[in-house]
Amino acid sequence: MMETMEFEVLGKKDTRSGFGEGLLEIGKQNKDVVALCADLTGSLKMNAFQNEFPERFFQAGIAEANMMGMAAGMTIGGKIPFTGTFANFSTGRVYDQIRQSIAYSKKNVKICASHAGLTLGEDGATHQILEDIGMMKMLPNMTVIVPADFNQTKQATMAIAAHEGPVYLRFGRPSVPIFVKPDANFQIGKADVLIEGSDVTIIACGHLVWKSIEAAQELAKKGISAEVINMHTIKPLDEQAVLQSVAKTKCVVTAEEHMINGGLGDSIAQVLTRNNPAPQEYVGVNDTFGESGTPAELMTKYGIDTRDVIAAAERVIQRK
């Protein structure tokens, strides 16, 4: 089992750059792809698309509600709009526009959200949204994807263009290790079992997947065999993957850069309570706003770092 834990780190990059590359690539492949941005083209890494396809790029200005409505309208006639702004302005600020004009109306809009969570860093809590996954997964018709690294974000960006229906794609600002192969086949709704184990299941999304890999490597040194699952699609959830793993390990840790309320962990708990109740520990932000600081400082202070995943795993094993 130990040899499966050797992960080749292919470098380190921000996931938003994966979005930028994916958008450019899918723009080349599909002329119906259009992009809208609310005055954050550089931050979202959308410049390459803008330069290559100026006629298919729409600068909305600092007017996110209008951007979401326009994106919904652009689907009528066959376009596939990708909207880009920070996660806070992609969700909370425009919840009703998404709810009525996109989700309820079943419009083929791809809501692409950067700078999610605490690791946006020094800008502080006004911009550090930790509720977006919850808001988006509650909407009927919405698919919610949180890719783990640069390569997976690029692959997911391209995959959602081929998926009919509204999608929320969440990524971030910090550079995180790349471990997904550049030629990996990203499948919406299909979890990746990264490490097989027998004592505890760790299910994570976003860059907490890498933290969970690190945790599993540390746990192995203590003789604990942890299974690590990259749950990049939170909705629709790969329930089979959850149930198969927990049937074996009998306990689970969930890890995410999001509020515990309403996040990935909640979705996992729901699957387990309905099918096969098991002890669960949550690594996430516990009902508090963030603050200014470096990403590393914030992850430590708010309890979403590697050591927190390790501690949660040790706790949950005791509860079996």
């Binding site: 509600a65 951007m67 979401m68 009528i76």
Partner: protein, 280 residues
Amino acid sequence: MENNELARIASQVRRDIVRMVSAVSSGHPGGSLGCADFLTMLYFDQMKHNPNAFSMDGEGEDLFFLSNGHISPVWYSVLARAGYFSTEELATFRKISSRLQGHPSTDKNVPGVRMASGSLGQGLSVGIGAALTKKLNQDDTLVYTLHGDGELQEGQIWEAAMYAAANKVDNLIATIDYNGRQIDGDVDDVLTLGDLSKKWQAFGWEVLEMNGHDFVDMRTTFAKAKSLIGNEKPIVIVMSTEMGQGVDYMMGTHKWHGVAPNDEQLADALNQLEETLGDY
């Protein structure tokens, strides 16, 4: 279509409206009655559209978006009378499992409806988006939107107004139902719009004004609006209407914005509206 023919259709549409809302003791008759002439003119005389083969994408067709979704009764009646679906279906309005939801929805695939509306202020953005796609597709048909005047209090409208002017969205004709009334009272008392035409002008729009109950004036104004298509400016028609138009006791007040008539009031209303095409 001749103006007297349009007037006959509008009279039947008004009967449909009061019967629909009365049947379920809910819905919004005031604004619906006020826009009956406009929507009749639009669907029976002005728009290039295909009621018998509705497609969501509407390529090669003019598109209409109702932004003030609460006046769904008038839209449903006009759609049915134009042939999008059977007039019998109007009897299902607001009832369980109906395609004719209280506010318009695409959820159950009702022909003619391309976007949910009800939460106000969103339809202009949607219309602009659809107009942008028409340009990308080199489709020279038009996009029409309708908005309540109270709805203009929503900030998103002005985000959209700014965008359309800045980006020369000149294949769009927005119309404002300027009846001066909203649920809580007169618009001037609730939150005045000031000089509405000047506001749109200041936002860079081509502004036309018309009487929404005068088919001659509407015909002239639509012709003028269409002549301005492609002039690098979005177009708005500020349309004067009377909330409750056609039913005397509903006119001159905001009180029938969202209240349905009882049986006695319904009979009174129907006495004032000629049955021209047969009730559903």
